[in-house]
């Protein structure tokens, strides 16, 4: 049984122009990952908080690509990559504050 892993980033970006830049940074990240060597990164979502305008949750999912490497370890490897560090720095430049990170293992998934 392969257990996936999710990292969330709670961020604040109160300026719509800077938010548009944030989205473009992450869109470019996805484009780059699609043509890069396979690793655990599966994709992300940006969720807007309806009760707190300017507050967002970025949800990045990681899966198993090597049966001997857990998804959480794939995510840890991803964090160490220079391109990940560069993207994180670019994100911070458009945010109001530093992101708050949380790490989760998947325990249950609705799956027909």
């Amino acid at each position: 049984m392969n257990r996936n892993f999710t990292q969330t980033m709670s961020v604040r970006c109160s300026d719509p122009e800077r938010f548009a830049k944030l989205v473009e940074i992450l869109r470019q990240w996805d484009r780059d990952q699609a043509s890069a060597d396979i690793m655990g990164y599966m994709g992300l979502r940006i969720l807007a908080d309806r009760d707190d305008p300017g507050s967002y949750l970025i949800v990045a999912d990681f899966g198993v690509v090597d049966p001997d490497v857990p998804a959480a370890d794939e995510a840890a490897r991803n964090n160490e990559r220079p391109e990940t560090q560069a993207t994180a720095a670019a994100m911070r430049a458009v945010l109001d504050d530093d992101p708050v990170y949380r790490d989760y293992d998947w325990e249950y998934l609705t799956d027909g």
Partner: protein, 363 residues
Amino acid sequence: MNGVFDTGIDEHDIGEVTLVARGIATAVAPETGLTDVQAELLEAIAAALTGHRVDYRTLDPLGPAELADVLAARDLDYRQRIVHHMVLGELVLRPIPVVVAHRVAKYAEALAIKDDFVRVARRYAQGAYGLAWMDLERSGFVEHVREADGDAADAARLPSIAPPDDDPALEARWQAFAQLPPDSLGYAVWDMYDSRGFAVPGAPGGAPPYLAQHDFVHVLADYGTNLRGEVEVFALIGRADPAPQGFAWLATLVGLFETGYITTSGFFDRDVRDPVIQAPGMHLRVADAIRRGKTIWQRHCEDLFDFPYHQHAARPVDEVRAMLGVPPKSATALEAGSAPLCSLDGMSETQRKVFTERRGGAG
């Protein structure tokens, strides 16, 4: 193994064919063993391309290093095609077990093949469908469109096969095919559009001109226009492409019409109500389409999307077939139900209805 068939391609040594089959089967087998669809498809492809029939269900394992030894004298292109057969063997699985996708990557590595489609299959196995589609699109279609447009910068920014703007001049050019002789390529492709109610390129709702190139192949290869016919056409086109990236076409159609890994390609939408590859006889039809594509590649060596069909539209269909070296369908494919273009069996229900209204005949 029970004999050599007439492939019309080239000679193959039964010993090597069996060893390669062992390697492919070992690479793509889930823990419970090869599925029926995997075994039938891979066996049919081996028979169509080599003339030797190998029972994929009874083969001994062969590891990556041993397979690399077997193929050591083969060039990069040949080894890459072998890897594509492995990937095809994966793509018909849903889900693709991570262990299988990882194992195929190890075989590719042993064969010194760095292949985008191995990565796409690994993304499917991982569940990263969005990234997989971005990767597949970039690996295949964008490159094709870029070459066709001759503008790399624009092609990189645009959707690979975007809905086209109306173009009255282009529409008129296609409609003019109706005035050509009935045995001509142009008339045949116009008749295909008209009889099924398809909008011609340039008309509102018409296909992009680049994609419409494949409709000439429907005529030349005599394949139907339902999902099964489309899979046959793109299997042929993909294998006829001198560049291995042509495999993207078949990989995409399997994702759209068999396993549902792809939601939409921009020109076809997912439809898995009636799986195509698992349909009776389809493994034989797909294998024969791949064989025909390989023959065209050996005789003509040009991406069929780049061929100037419009320049040859007034020529008889048979003459253009001869120019490209299109071989006939095999008896096996015909017996398996490969429908001709003009047959009702080669049409979807909607196409059949329109055809009957417009032509009134039995196809």
